[in-house]
Symmetry: C2
Subunit: 322 residues, 2 copies
């Protein structure tokens, strides 16, 4: 073997080591775009409209509550409350899930009852304990705001009329598909920057897999997107059963996203756990029947904190006015 060939071979092997070392974990890497459905292509016009709608309190009965009230961009697109507040400050049944990276999931809502963002988007607008509006009233309101006629026509040029419930859902979903948090310390670590996270966090990630947390919490957002039976002590919430009344759906909840989890406490579907430490401990006991030792818990929490990515939506729009 001549020296050139040897050098080339040596370089290829050396450069491959980081990739090989992490090859099992590449499924956890965060892509910059989520899946885009064939019938709702992602266009700049739809994103612009959807962003305006997401921040517009006129989508609620009171004209005071927008999607962003509970999915607050200053709090990781969640609200920091145990359970959601809504119309007249009534307390909803569950904790507000973050919108960040939710576009990676097949099922939406804690109980997974919606099969797409499009199906999810209109729910909270009509829910009496959320925005409490009638969709037909919202459509009438939007039609009365000149700026929205322009925005909808630009986003849906083929549709006459363009301002419809379906397009409202499509535009909001399009905006939500841009709320992706990339380049977290953990992603940099996976890509080979071994100093991007602490030794504790790296140990925590290993324990996370070894203990079996990654059985459900896997893929780019650390959720398999599937329903699992999760009976939280003290909670009487029956999960998907409330919707289907099927015995097999009792206590079934969709695996929540762990990306940016340090920003989106409190935890569990009922917001009953205040700290990440408490959440990991409870999940260990409830889902894995493990009493996780305190040092391991600490490491797993250190790992979870590395999942905070770059914030995608720090600018707010100026809403169209009459």
């Amino acid at each position: 073997m001549n020296i050139r060939l040897f050098t080339a071979f040596f370089l290829i092997v050396m450069l491959s080591i980081p990739v090989m070392a992490f090859s099992d974990d590449s499924s956890f890497l965060m892509p910059s775009l989520p899946p885009i459905p064939a019938d709702n292509s992602l266009t700049a016009e739809k994103i612009k409209l959807g962003k305006s709608l997401f921040f517009d309190p006129r989508l609620s009965k009171s004209n005071w509550i927008s999607c962003a009230t509970c999915h607050n961009p200053t709090m990781g697109f969640a609200d920091g409350l145990p359970r959601a507040l809504g119309h007249k400050m009534s307390v909803g049944p569950r904790n507000t899930p973050t919108v960040l990276n939710s576009a990676f999931l097949r099922l939406q809502f804690w109980d997974g009852r919606a099969k797409s963002l499009e199906e999810q988007a209109l729910g909270p607008i009509e829910a009496p304990v959320e925005m409490a509006a009638k969709l037909s009233d919202v459509i009438d309101k939007l039609k009365s705001i000149e700026g929205y006629t322009v925005l909808f026509n630009n986003a849906f040029p083929a549709d006459k009329p363009a301002i419809t419930k379906k397009n409202l859902a499509k535009a909001i979903s399009a905006y939500e598909r841009t709320l992706i948090t990339t380049n977290s310390a953990f992603d940099r670590y996976l890509r080979g920057d071994r100093d991007a996270i602490s030794k504790e966090a790296a140990d925590g990630f290993r324990s996370f897999k070894k203990l079996g947390c990654s059985g459900c919490h896997n893929g780019p957002v650390f959720s398999d997107g599937e329903l699992h039976r999760a009976k939280i002590p003290g909670s009487t919430d029956s999960g998907l059963y409330n919707v289907t009344k099927k015995e097999e759906d009792k206590y079934k909840f969709r695996t929540p996203i762990l990306r940016n989890i340090s920003l989106t406490g409190p935890y569990m579907h009922d917001g009953s756990v205040n700290t990440l430490n408490g959440a990991v401990k409870l999940m260990g006991k409830t889902m894995l029947d493990e009493d996780i030792p305190s040092k391991t818990l600490k490491n797993i929490v250190a790992f979870l904190r590395t999942l905070r990515g770059e914030h995608p939506g720090r600018t707010v729009p100026t809403l169209p006015w009459k």
Copy 2:
């Protein structure tokens, strides 16, 4: 006179014409900074802290309502409602005034009962129909959030403790002093760009002055910042009298800001007027005893629309978490 001297003289005269033509109006020009009080210097650290506080719902009893809920950056730092909503969605007595450029005013609140932004800032936090919190509870909450200890210590390095009611007010006020909207079409017009606004708007500005609107609506934010008797038909609000119980304060309200007025409807202290046209008409009748002809009204509204400046606060912070 030699030719050089003549040329110089000619040039000076010619270059002065635009300045001379607008010289009476230079008092309407928007500066880029408002007055800064001697005891609350504007520092980057205070602005950063104040911005976080302004957007933080944990300043309210419910942990759901922030300053930005009603002073919403997507709606010209107002809320688009006739009268403010607050805790449990109770309806407040008055329309939410914009925070934009409010730092130029000596008196704060519709009835001018606060003598500075610092004095104003804490009012809504404790008002039962607004954020409904106890300030002492808010201070305790802020102390329990690690990130705020850092932010307060950076902003007020000489104060031990740094997290106090006074510093809370100072930081919020510092942030508010950055919410200045410069470079509106009207400002560009005043600076000599005659095409920056339409002929109608320029006519409207002349009528605005000739009719006497500028008697009260003057200075950079089109408000003298003073109290005037303004009895709106249908309103039973006694203005500053509610606070002082002095007969001379009956129906006294502070002249509102006209900058960005096209973004901050509805109008009047009770939000009873939906359109700018209606607002100008009503003010003509009530304050000037004039039935303003419809063409003049239209021109004045065209002028008022040119007062929309560049948006200073389109980015939102990520709030500190425990």
